[in-house]
Symmetry: C2
Subunit: 381 residues, 2 copies
Amino acid sequence: MDVRTGLPVVGMVGGGQLARMTHQAAISLGQSLRVLAESPDDSAGLVAADVRIGTHTDLAALREFAKGCDAVTFDHEHVPSGHIRALEAEGTKVFPCADALLFAQDKGQMRERLSNLGAPVPKWRRVFSESDISDFAEAAGWPVVAKATRGGYDGRGVWMLGSVQEATELVATGTELIVEERVVLRRELAAVVARSPFGQVAAYPVVETVQRDGICVEVLAPAPGLPEQRALDAQQLAIDLATELGVVGLLAVELFETDAGIVVNELAMRPHNSGHWTIEGARTSQFEQHLRAVLDYPMGATTLTAPAVVMANVLGGPSGGASIDERLHHLFAEDPGARVHLYGKKVRPGRKIGHVTVLGEDLSSVRARAARAARRLQEGE
Amino acid sequence: MDVRTGLPVVGMVGGGQLARMTHQAAISLGQSLRVLAESPDDSAGLVAADVRIGTHTDLAALREFAKGCDAVTFDHEHVPSGHIRALEAEGTKVFPCADALLFAQDKGQMRERLSNLGAPVPKWRRVFSESDISDFAEAAGWPVVAKATRGGYDGRGVWMLGSVQEATELVATGTELIVEERVVLRRELAAVVARSPFGQVAAYPVVETVQRDGICVEVLAPAPGLPEQRALDAQQLAIDLATELGVVGLLAVELFETDAGIVVNELAMRPHNSGHWTIEGARTSQFEQHLRAVLDYPMGATTLTAPAVVMANVLGGPSGGASIDERLHHLFAEDPGARVHLYGKKVRPGRKIGHVTVLGEDLSSVRARAARAARRLQEGE
């Protein structure tokens, strides 16, 4: 508890844009997020009052950081399980706990557990040698999808393999892998829920996520044309997984929609890119919801605030052209209703440097505005 | 400009809840508000990354604070004009400028200027002696309203005088005063606009403000039952005043609605309590709008996000009972859709420690929910 305010202190490990936006949400709750950043210039380090400098692999830094926190949570999945267990053993409330977070850290563990739970997943197997891939591909058909069990994000750590030779080359790198069938999908969806230690779960409307080169570029809320029963199924699946895995905080379930139904692609246990639209588009943002969950407050309403909400990511482009500040002027002049979120990050091609949300009555016009706004902010366009 | 982000730096003098919520808005724009706070425990000091400690009457502190700011603006009206002029003379962009802010600092100057502009104001005069009050009251009728020209807020610095004796006692205190007729009003309204240096003005929907003991307790947006022409008149009046007075940033015009029309009560040139509802209730919050205005960005859309929006202030009550954190649990359990904003302030009876906003279709249910939510958070209830 912060003795100055009588309100709790949440610590978030990692200083990226998720911590930045969580701090922004914490302010409304009378709180000030404590952030463990690698550098004071990290996205959240630039804006939070209580920034500690340290790295998430340093147990001593984590211990020092956790002192006085009512709950510790994460901006990313990279804190070693052993470190989390050490904090838990010392009485720190860490959410999600090590046992739950494992299923967001390790795709092999996740696939195994979900298979055992009977959740819909692609055909898959662990890879110990090249023949595991070629045997699997003989049955499932080439190409197949190989994934590093750990450390992948934004399309990294995922390979489409079309031949034995490609499989052999990948296995030779020594990366721990699983292999999956290539799912023939209509589109990708995401179901985001939050769960409190008490066990209350709140589900957001299911959204469509649009990827380009493995990076999410656009989120449509609610997912257009999704039959109500399928939306309910996806929400129920996310609720069941949150409950079965013992998740506390947010759980984002990335889904493939196929002709036959939905299939789980990935899990994330933190505020997630597929939920950024909730800042303006839902009554309670995913960032506030995550704080409420880890503090065991009752969950907030997840209702939409407009019939159509579209979030478009702003990716760094090639350098040159107008400055980000000039681009912002142009965007604001063009679309006074676009909601901009910039993360204070140095531009690198393909890096997420912000996002834009547009709300309205009609999906197609909202979507066009969001895409245009994101392009306006992109360097080098 | 912040070299780390390529985005501008705004400095706000004063560390209260207005600075706190402005920082929250700045985060979305890729910025981090610089705050001049009296103490690190000030409302904004608790949450902002760039907090300088100093007092607004210390010119050296203001000069140091302004270094590197793209614009300097205010959380309150108490910075001496001479200090602002000194900063302006040294090339700092200060918004509102000293010449405009004067009309929010000094009620005598404000009444004089508005009278000259032909704006609707109550009958009034300056007070140099007791007879100025009694002569005025002879013509206008007792009781009359005396106001300190400077420093009043939340009902302080305003006296209802019913007799020559009361007038004599007040004048004897040596306070610089004006006297006004008591306006027979239906209700109070507020028209909030923002103006940029370029001269663009954006007007929010006119709201009804409900006062208790001179303190705003509730804001209804839009003002229920207000004829469209009167709403337009109020917006146009606020736009004209912002333009005539050369305001840059927000201008809140507090109005009396009478049988005959609208009359200007007070002016404020900063984010204002009558605009807190805009955080969720308008497409662009007043806090972002103020930043956009002082940075000469194009203004954001001011459209309502729901048919009925009600903001209720949370005032400190007598101490005792459940802690603020427990109260928050109860409120969230009772109303998952209520939007809470706590300021991190120590509770004192009557002090504004937060506000709650509720949005919906139907004013009377929204209003009841907001009032109940604010009571839940009030200590000692």
